[in-house]
């Protein structure tokens, strides 16, 4: 389509409302973070003054910054692993279109519909008295498992769709060539699932770095702050009126996700091409 015709038939002003809203409610607050992270903005006084990198050095020097970063990244990686292993396993198990499998798929979608907060309360009640939510080492993986439990139904759906896109004649050819079922699965089908893997790993990894509800409802960041994700820290300090500290951590989260998003997506895309 030439530009002149495009201008008439698909005018750019159609973009205006959506992009104006994105600018005001997404880009602008994000830009603000780069300013207010370097001020003394708080709930205790009216004026806001620049303080340089004080917030950052303070968070770094008492160890809060790196602990929260480490916890958030470990959590995200664990969620991505659990969610994809479960989702993939379910998709393979429930692949055939039988009545029982269809019902089972619906059941695995119920957690996806539930609020994450509710899921957190359910598991808090379920695990009460077992000590699983009171261990300074093992509670983080337990909470990541709960997160994966909530979203594995969605990962399952996407893997199921990926399995359906694989042409039958390809499998037929592999079988005629004498490939075992195990062999044809890993050599023929698994590589063709690459787009589904890309989508699932990227969304699980980057989405869970922005996690809050499940951890807040199960542990509130405890025990001894060993499950305090960046968002839990932001929520807590915001509640204490320490707005500049909260903004600083929010900026750290933004940069962390932005920095990880790029290599994660490029890496997974490249894997698709090689396979």
């Amino acid at each position: 389509m030439t530009t002149a015709i495009g201008r008439r038939t698909h005018p750019l002003w159609f973009l205006l409302p959506a992009y104006a809203l994105l600018l005001v409610f997404f880009v602008l607050p994000t830009a603000y973070q780069f300013v207010y992270a370097f001020t003394d903005w708080s709930g205790f006084k009216a004026s806001i003054n620049p303080v340089g990198v004080d917030n950052l050095t303070q968070l770094a020097s008492d160890g809060t910054l790196f602990r929260a970063l480490r916890i958030t990244v470990v959590y995200a990686v664990l969620v991505a692993i659990f969610q994809n292993v479960f989702g993939f396993g379910l998709a393979v198990l429930l692949e055939r279109d039988t009545a029982l499998n269809r019902i089972a798929r619906t059941f695995f979608l119920i957690p996806v519909l539930m609020s994450a907060l509710a899921v957190g309360y359910v598991f808090q009640a379920l695990l009460k008295g077992t000590g699983a939510l009171a261990d300074t080492t093992w509670t983080l993986p337990v909470v990541a498992l709960i997160h994966a439990w909530k979203w594995m139904g969605l990962a399952m759906l996407i893997y199921l769709a990926g399995l359906k896109t694989i042409p039958l004649d390809l499998l037929e050819a592999a079988r005629l060539d004498g490939a075992s079922r195990w062999h044809s699965f890993w050599r023929v089908r698994a590589p063709l699932l690459a787009p589904a893997v890309t989508f699932n790993v990227a969304t699980a990894l980057l989405g869970s770095m922005n996690g809050f509800d499940i951890v807040q409802a199960t542990t509130g960041g405890g025990p001894a702050r060993t499950t305090e994700l960046l968002n839990i820290f932001i929520y807590r300090t915001f509640g204490q009126g320490l707005f500049a500290q909260a903004t600083t951590m929010s900026l750290v989260l933004f940069l962390l996700v932005a920095l990880m998003a790029f290599p994660v997506i490029v890496l997974l895309r490249r894997r698709e091409e090689v396979l």
Binding site: A18, F25, P29, Y32, A104, F108, L117, A118, K128, N210
Partner: protein, 270 residues
């Protein structure tokens, strides 16, 4: 796995992985306070579900929170779908460097986390702090990306010839969009609707910052009462609330299940 063993494995898996947590919710929601203090999987000796619903309904002021949730979810979903598809249509049809850059920028919000703290300051400057309008604006800023991503991909699969016919009849771009494009988008809009409903209906994190303490929604209300002394150890009331809050979404999903599933999966793997 052998064909005889597979159904057994499926039933056991569903019963343990999904059945146990769901049963805990239902059984606990049916118990009296004394029985529910230590949540367990025993069925209630007497079912108190309706009493519990009545108590939650009145004590936690569920009707007000329900209205608050609707007041925010409905306009958010309507605006995000219409404005998002308008933008997506033009982005999909005009192939230029500018639209490519705008598209990349438009969908980056799917992954990048929103600035929850400074958005509060911005809303205060705009005079929208603590209002439904401010909350809707924040959700639009977050979820327009998702709609632009799904709809742009979908528009590219629709042949443009369908638009030409209307254009030859003299229809302007707005008429073409409303009468030809929008109806064709129905499958993908159904998916986007459920996804956005899911996110907004269940959101507590963004709502806490923007409208916390000023306006009540169902998740905010649940969060408040569950963290407050009022509901401490009142598991029967917490789980009754969970059922009340989840019911509307489960009904929507049950009605539109097929379409939703095909829509979600189509957008992700292509």
């Amino acid at each position: 796995m052998s064909r005889r063993l597979q159904p057994v494995a499926v039933i056991v898996l569903v019963a343990v992985v999904i059945g146990i947590p769901l049963w805990l919710v239902i059984a606990t929601a049916g118990k009296s306070q004394g029985e529910a203090i230590d949540p367990n999987l025993r069925p209630p000796t007497h079912w108190h579900l309706l009493d519990n619903v009545r108590q939650v309904w009145v004590d936690a002021d569920v009707p007000a929170a329900f209205v608050g949730s609707l007041l925010i979810v409905v306009p958010t979903v309507a605006a995000v779908l219409v404005l998002g598809s308008m933008a997506a249509w033009v982005l999909a049809r005009r192939a230029s460097r500018l639209t490519a850059v705008l598209y990349a920028a438009g969908i980056s919000g799917i992954i990048l986390p929103p600035a929850v703290v400074t958005v509060v300051l911005l809303l205060r400057q705009l005079g929208l702090a603590g209002t439904a309008l401010g909350m809707i604006g924040v959700y639009l800023g977050i979820y327009l990306s998702t709609v632009i991503f799904f709809v742009t991909g979908f528009v590219r699969t629709i042949p443009e010839a369908l638009e030409e016919a209307a254009r030859i009849d003299g229809a302007g771009p707005f008429a073409v969009f409303r009468k030809v494009v929008l109806p064709l988008l129905r499958p993908v809009l159904a998916t986007a609707t459920i996804l956005i409903c899911l996110y907004v209906w269940n959101d507590v994190f963004y709502a806490f910052f923007v409208i916390g303490g000023r306006l009540d929604t169902l998740p905010l209300n649940l969060f408040r009462v569950a963290s407050a002394g009022l509901y401490l150890n009142n598991w029967h009331l917490i789980f009754t609330y969970v059922i009340l809050m989840s019911l509307p979404l489960v009904v929507v999903f049950a009605v539109a299940q097929r379409r939703i599933i095909s829509g979600i999966t189509g957008g992700a793997v292509k």
